[in-house]
């Protein structure tokens, strides 16, 4: 296994992995086609503010990935810029579930006016997590968290001090991991579909500098 930076050419594999994981998630992205996901990841991975890592096995197959933006607002605007092509790819999914149209419009409305009060996404500024997905049918899932923390470290090295994540309260494992990994809950929101969305934030300065300084100081005192 190796962890490497992801590139736009990885979008097809990201889409397939996301599609495989969709039974564990709910919401808009769990209902859209692989073609839409492929286009979505192509747009997102091509954007300047995107930070993405993936874990590749010995057969050069991606088993997991994590993708974030250092600028959530710019990410929304990027999706807005690509809304036409994304809309075309969304058509096949809408034939199966026409309500997706309204959810898609919701998302595009945020990009246009930045009004998050009634949206499914609550963070529109600063660095924000987008997706962290792992194919658990493989045997290398022990790498998943390490990949995630390497990505946090890269964000820190890029100058990100605070990193925001959004997790459904029902996703207890992901939430528990975030809290044990150092994230702090900043708010709780009820989405239109009834889901409770937890907003949590990592202080990367503390995680990668202060905590290590404390550790090193203690080590020196003990030696």
């Amino acid at each position: 296994m190796k962890i490497r930076l992801a590139k736009a050419a990885d979008s097809a594999q990201f889409a397939m992995l996301h599609s495989k994981a969709r039974n564990t998630t709910v919401g808009f992205f769990s209902k859209v086609s692989v073609g839409f996901l492929n286009q979505y990841y192509k747009c997102t991975l091509s954007h300047d503010d995107c930070v993405a890592l993936c874990a590749v096995n010995d057969q050069n197959k991606i088993e997991g990935f994590v993708i974030s933006t250092t600028n959530a607002r710019a990410d929304f605007l990027n999706l807005k810029k690509n809304s036409f092509i994304l809309g075309i790819y969304l058509l096949s999914s809408m034939l199966k579930d026409f309500r997706l149209l309204f959810e898609a419009l919701d998302r595009f409305r945020i990009a246009v006016n930045g009004n998050l009060s009634n949206s499914y996404v609550k963070t529109d500024e600063g660095a924000r997590g987008i997706y962290w997905i792992w194919d658990h049918s493989g045997k290398n899932s022990i790498w998943s968290g390490t990949m995630y923390n390497k990505h946090l470290h890269i964000l820190y090295l890029l100058g990100v001090k605070n990193f925001t994540i959004e997790v459904d309260k029902s996703n207890t494992k992901a939430l528990q991991f975030a809290l044990r990994n150092g994230a702090v809950i900043t708010s709780e929101n009820k989405l239109k579909d009834g889901r409770i969305r937890i907003i949590a934030s990592y202080n990367l300065q503390f995680k990668f500098v202060t905590k290590r300084d404390i550790f090193n100081t203690n080590q020196e005192r003990l030696s």
């Binding site: 792992w134 658990h136 899932s141 022990i142 790498w143 998943s144 968290g145 390490t146 995630y148 923390n149 390497k150 494992k173 992901a174 528990q176 991991f177 044990r180 990994n181 150092g182 905590k211 290590r212 550790f215 203690n218 003990l222």
Partner: protein, 79 residues
Amino acid sequence: MTNKIKYNKVFIDCFSVSEEQLNENFTYQCVAAWDSVGHMGMIAALEDVFGIMMETEDIIEFASYTVGIEKLKKYGIEI
């Protein structure tokens, strides 16, 4: 509280298991809670409890209760 009690408590708290289950057969994915997410939660808890910061390769190789005891020796923790 001894290191052994602290070490076991992390496993018991993170994976909701009993102390009797903690032996050489207690390995990664042997219970549903010890998956990739549970693994990092357990590592974070161990780092907090023992005041250490584990290196990447140790986190990845920490694949069983017994291996963990060996890995912690590297950080000066005797279980």
